[in-house]
Structure formats: C-alpha cells, structure tokens
C-alpha cells in the first residue's frame, strides 16, 4: 500500500515537473503542447453548445482532452470571481466579450501576447473582439463565439399585413411603420417586442441604431458615457412611442431576458431586434418563416453589436501550453468552417465570412457581412454599469422608455460616467 502510494506521488510529481517544463517554453513543439493533458474549460449556458462542439472536434483529433462545464448565464460572473479568489480557475474560461476588459485588467487570464502575435492568421481574427481581450497593450483573450444583433421578422405576418416579406425595412422609421402594420392584425398579435427591464438586451439591440446614425454611447476608452446624445434620445423616443401605442407587446416593459426568446418563438411578434444566433433556434421549432435584416438608424445606415464570447487561459492554470494549443486550433480554418460555420454560427475570422456552408443560406451571408460594420463596445466596468439589474444603465433606459425621458438621459449619463470610471 505504502509503495503504491509513494509510486503514485512520484508519478504525479514527475507529471507536474513535465507540465512546468512545457510552461517555460512558449514556443513548445506541437508534441509537447498536445501531451494528453486534461483541460478544464468553463463557459456560460448561452455558449455551451458551441464550446462543446469545439471540444468534441478537438478531442477527436488530439491527445489533450477538453472538458466543458457550463454555468447559468446570470451566475457565471460570480462563479468566476469566487474561483479566482480561491485561486482555482479552470485551465480555460470563456466570458461575454464585453466583460473581457474587466477580467483582463484583473489578471484572471494569462498574458498570451507573444503566442497570439505568432499566429499566422492574427490579423484576420475579429478585430473588435481582440481589442476587448486587450489590457495595457497586452493580449489576454481571443474570440470564442460571435453573436450579432439583427432584426428578425415573421415573414408570414408580414404577408398577412400586406407588407412585402422580401423587402425588410431599411431605416428604423420604416421598422416602426412595419411593426404598426403588423400590429393592426389585432388579436394577440403585436408589432414588436423588446427587453424593457434587461440592461444587456438593450445594449445589444438599441446601440446599433445609434451607431448606424453616426452617434456613439461612450468615448473610445469606455470611461465617459454619451447616452444624452441626440441619436440615443431619438432611438429611445421611437421605441417609447411603440410601447405607448401598444404596438410593442405589453410584456416588453417587464421583460428581464428569460422569456425574450419565447416571445419571438411564439409567432405573435411582427419584427424585433434580437441575437442572430436565434435564427436557427427559432426556425427549429417555428411553423413560420423567419426573415433577417440589419439594424438601422432612424434615417438609414446599418450596424450591429458584435457580441459573443472571448476565451483565455486561466491565470492559475498548470497547462498553459496545452490550453494555448486548443485556443490556436479553434482559430484555425478547420474549426471555423467545420465546427462554427457548419453549425450556422458566425466565424470569428473575417476572411472566412463566406464559406462553403454560408453560401447555402443567403441570410447567413447577410449576418456574416455585418461584422465589418458593427462594433464591440469597450469598457472595463461594463457588467456593473450596463448588464447588472442594479446598473445605472437600467435606471436610465427605464426612465427614457417609461418615465421622464429628458431627465433620465441627463442624470443617466452622469451616473454611467461615474460607474465607468470606477
């Protein structure tokens, strides 16, 4: 028994030494990087299916084995924070791309600047995502998944309302007109729907209209809010009017996120901004045809919120070389085409926007082409400022949509700036 124990201890020590050895040489050969390590990887529920698809494809062709654990979206940041406090982060973890600057600044990911710069495809990796994984000019994370905001519309309801289902609105004003037309069908049909009590949803769906009109919501460093701009006020006013007229479903006011997808799946909503990733999910169950259009500004233009997840190597990982082997593989052609594009996802590489799978569905090409026109906002304190239910953004936009609009945006800009500067 004793001998067995000491044998095991010796073997473990040797393994640990081996792992340390490969850590010290970042330019490790492929063999050392694929040494048969078990890599733990965390992700949020929203990203689980893509993460698992990546892992399954990688595990099938590599000695390293990636084990994915997913956590509920809302609890995920807290899970990461407590794991970091206990110095027990997984080897790899993904996060909402907008939270990436915070994790990078807190040092939760390992510095991968040299490894990333050595990648032949580094200039083709979604630039906005790469920027969000950067802190003090060092790279900490790479894109994992991409999800963009688009207008999804119910083609059947468009036809019933006398609209041309192949000609989606080109401006936000036309969007409102189309929503009103569908709403006139009456019954339990509503023109549009939005997450009126959900900070993350509105960041994702309303900001593109501001960008499309040439405005912005923050300065470049993400330290000062400009939501009191004319462009933002106009977007709020338009949605506010749709709600007041009853064109937006009454449940929009209280929508905090969980039933957002369900509302669009029900087939009772005409047109609404939503994540592009829902195209496949809605179509899977729906008995109606779904159309897709870019989100536009009040008088035209188009933009999108390039969201999704970033991924980096946990700061306390003992398998950094192996973890990088996985990350580098996920950015390669094989993973991007055979895993991401095949699953109707958006490739994280700009040069793969059109590929053998996307050409089969023109709507996917529309989505992929939007990436170049969109933005990923950058702010260190993003979660506390915008996504959290107690965020100042929540107070501000609820005021703008349902309360004293003028005052809410003025006060909101001050409160948001204070929070961004923390």
């Amino acid at each position: 028994m004793n001998r067995l124990l000491s044998g095991t201890v010796a073997a473990t020590l040797l393994l640990a030494l081996g792992a340390c050895g490969s850590d010290e040489s970042p330019a490790a050969t492929g063999e050392a990087a694929d040494s048969g390590a078990t890599l733990t990887m965390w992700t949020r529920a929203a990203t689980e299916s893509v993460s698992k698809a990546y892992a399954a494809a990688y595990n099938a062709t590599h000695k390293n084995q990636v084990q994915v654990t997913a956590y509920p979206n809302e609890e995920y940041p807290a899970k990461l924070a407590s794991a970091a406090g206990a110095k027990a982060l997984p080897d790899l973890f993904a996060s909402d791309v907008v939270f990436a600057p915070q994790y990078a600044s807190q040092g939760l990911w390992l510095d991968i600047t040299d490894k990333f710069n050595a990648l032949p495809v580094k200039d083709k990796v979604a630039p906005a995502h790469v920027r969000n994984g950067t802190w003090n000019k060092k790279n900490y994370a790479v894109p994992h998944t991409i999800d963009m905001s688009v207008m999804l519309y119910n083609k059947d309801l468009f036809t019933k309302a006398g609209l041309d289902p192949e000609k989606p609105p080109k401006t936000l004003t036309e969007f409102a007109a189309a929503a009103r037309a569908v709403d006139k069908l009456g019954g339990d049909i509503n023109g549009t729907y939005f997450g009126g009590n959900c900070g993350g949803c509105n960041v994702f769906t309303l900001w593109p209209s501001v960008w499309a009109a040439g405005g912005d919501v923050m300065n470049a460093d993400g330290t000062a809010s400009t939501i009191d701009s004319k462009e933002m006020a106009e977007v709020f006013a338009l949605y506010r009017k749709l709600y007041d007229e009853g064109v937006a479903a009454p449940a929009s006011k209280d929508e905090a996120g969980p039933t957002w997808l369900g509302a669009l799946q029900s087939g009772k909503i005409g047109i609404a901004p939503a994540p592009s990733a829902w195209l496949g999910i809605i179509e899977e169950k729906a008995a109606f045809k779904v159309g897709i259009a870019p989100i536009s500004g009040i008088n035209g233009g188009e933009s999108t919120f390039v969201g999704g997840d970033s991924i980096g190597i946990g700061a306390t990982s003992k398998h950094a070389a192996q973890a990088w082997d996985f990350l580098a593989w996920t950015l390669g052609d094989e993973a991007q085409v055979e895993v991401v594009a095949k699953g109707k996802g958006v490739p994280t590489r700009t040069d793969l926007a059109s590929n053998k799978y996307s050409s089969a569905d023109p709507r996917v090409v529309t989505i992929n082409n939007l990436m170049g026109k969109g933005k990923t906002p950058y702010a260190k304190n993003f979660n506390a400022t915008y996504n959290d239910p107690q965020s100042p953004w929540n107070t501000a936009f609820r005021g703008a949509l349902f309360g004293d609009a003028q005052k809410s945006l003025g006060d909101g800009a001050t409160a948001l700036t204070a929070s961004l500067k923390k």
Partner: protein, 304 residues
C-alpha cells in the same frame, strides 16, 4: 441498584487533583470539535472580512491597505441608501405580518381536536421546501406565460406580479415569505404555548376571566421568551433577505426591491470590489449585533 449505590459517594468528594485535571482535559477535548468548527468557519472568516474591509482587495494578487476608504465611500452610494430603506421597510412589514399569521396559526392548532394534526402538518409543510426552490416555484406560479395565478386574478389582462410595480413586487415577495415561514414560526410558538401549565388557565377560568383576559394576562406574558426568540429570528432573517428578491424580482422594478445583501453581492461579484463589500458586511453585522443585544436584553429582563 442498592448494591451499586454506596460506591459513588466514596469516589466523588475525594477525587485526586490529577484526576480533576484529566477531567478538565477530557472536557476540553469534547468541546474541541465544536471549537474548531466555530473558529474555522466563524471566527476566522469574520476576522478576514474585517481585515478585508480595510484593504483594496483584488481577486488575484496582493491586497493594499486603503482604510478608511471603503467605509468612507459607503455614504455616497445611492443604491446602498435605497437598499437600506427598502430593507428596513421590508423588515417591518414582514415581521408584523409574519408574527400575526404565525401566532394566529399557533392559537388555531393549540388544542388537540379532530383534524388538528392534519392542519399542523399542512401549515408546517412549506418549511420543508428549500427557500430558493420555493422562490422559483413562486416565480413560475406568478409568471404570465406559464403560471395559473394571472389567469385566476387578472383574466386575459397582462399583469406582472414580480416586476410590474414596486408594490406588487414587494407584495409577491411578502406572500412567498409568509407561505414559506409561517408554519416554522408557528411550530416555535406552539411549543411556547404548550409549555404553559393548564392549571394556570383553569384557575383563571374559575376566577371568571374572559377569553380575551386570559390571552392578555396569561398567554402573552408567559409566552414572552418564545415571542422574543421568534421576533429575533424574524428580524435577523429579514435584514439578511436575499434569495426571495434575487430570484423573484431581481431587485426590480427600478431597484425598488433591492435588499442590502444584494448590494453586498453586487459590490463583491459584479464590481469585483471585495473591500467595499466587506465594509458593508461589517456595518450590517454591527447593526445586527445591536438589534440582537437589545432584544435579548429585553428577553432577559422579562424572564427574570
């Protein structure tokens, strides 16, 4: 029995000092596991929180001393101010309603009668459901999409019971807490009621006391220790409210149901500002200690 009896007195009074010291050691040994648990999981974390509240404490890396910045910053926090007021309001509402309901239920099932056993079980049953599960259950029941409550109370109209308005949101949470905790508190009050000797009631009745007089002059005074205990539990529990609001209302609408502990959670896990979170915790702990000291003081005075 009689054979064994004489042996005892000879041993006890003349126990040698060594034996006594041994006994003390054994006593300490018995207490050691509890002492370890209390020290490890209460005293050490408590000390750590106080220590943390004096520092800028990053998730990874070395903390730096910044006292009293974490405490000074609390005054400017508007969300914290809203949460303090809300938590106090909630504590008053819940304590009054929950106490009245629990006491009422306890009086109802005080005496053995047909069907009382069934009622006692029925009232206590919700206490067997985990609080988080109970909150999720209510979230489902009150949901416009999947729950039956809306159809029963509002018909076809759309109403959001959990985030429609500050009052309905608070009301939903209060109903949940009443449902979940009334039975448990009823049980504690019931043990207090049954500890009152029946002769006292009988004597009062012989003296011609009315039911109300008996309740006011006998039941309530003799129940004081139990009532104090129940109130202490209710107030402490309400000041530390988290689950019901976190799950049911997410602190909304417009931060109207954000409790103090939710602010601590936000500071620690969303802002990643562990120092400030620790500072609020320390202040809240201080308030709780003061509350409990007052309550236990009252309890002690009355029971003397």
């Amino acid at each position: 029995m009689t054979l064994l009896a004489p042996a005892r007195p000879t041993v006890l009074p003349s126990a040698p000092p060594r034996r006594k010291r041994n006994k003390q050691w054994i006593g300490a040994l018995y207490a050691a596991p509890t002492a370890f648990v209390v020290g490890m999981f209460f005293v050490v974390p408590l000390g750590l929180v106080v220590w943390m509240s004096l520092h800028h404490w990053p998730l990874l890396g070395a903390p730096t001393l910044n006292a009293p910045e974490n405490y000074a910053g609390l005054g400017d926090d508007e969300l914290l101010r809203t949460a303090v007021w809300f938590t106090l309001k909630y504590t008053v509402v819940v304590t009054v309603l929950l106490f009245a309901l629990s006491f009422g239920l306890a009086l109802m099932v005080q005496h053995r009668r047909r069907g009382v056993g069934l009622l006692r079980t029925a009232f206590f049953l919700p206490a067997a459901v985990g609080f988080a599960s109970a909150s999720l259950l209510f979230l489902g029941l009150l949901s416009d999409e999947i729950g039956p409550v809306n159809d029963l109370l509002a018909g076809d109209a759309y109403v959001s019971w959990t985030s429609g308005s500050p009052n309905t949101a608070l009301g939903s949470a209060v109903v949940l807490v009443l449902w979940r905790f009334a039975g448990f508190n009823m049980l504690i009050l019931l043990t207090g009621l049954q500890a009152i000797p029946l002769d006292v009631y009988e004597a009062a009745r012989l003296d011609g006391a009315t039911r109300f007089q008996i309740f006011r002059r006998i039941t309530v005074p003799l129940m004081r220790p139990t009532i104090a205990l129940v109130l202490t539990l209710m107030i402490t529990g309400s000041l530390l409210a988290f689950d019901q609001f976190w799950i049911l209302t997410r602190g909304g609408p417009d931060n109207s149901t954000t409790s103090l502990v939710m602010v601590i959670y936000r500071e620690a896990f969303i802002e990643l500002d562990l120092g400030s979170a620790a500072a609020i915790s320390v202040v809240l702990l201080g308030v709780l200690v003061v509350f409990n000291a007052i309550q236990l003081g009252v309890l002690r005075r009355r029971s003397q």
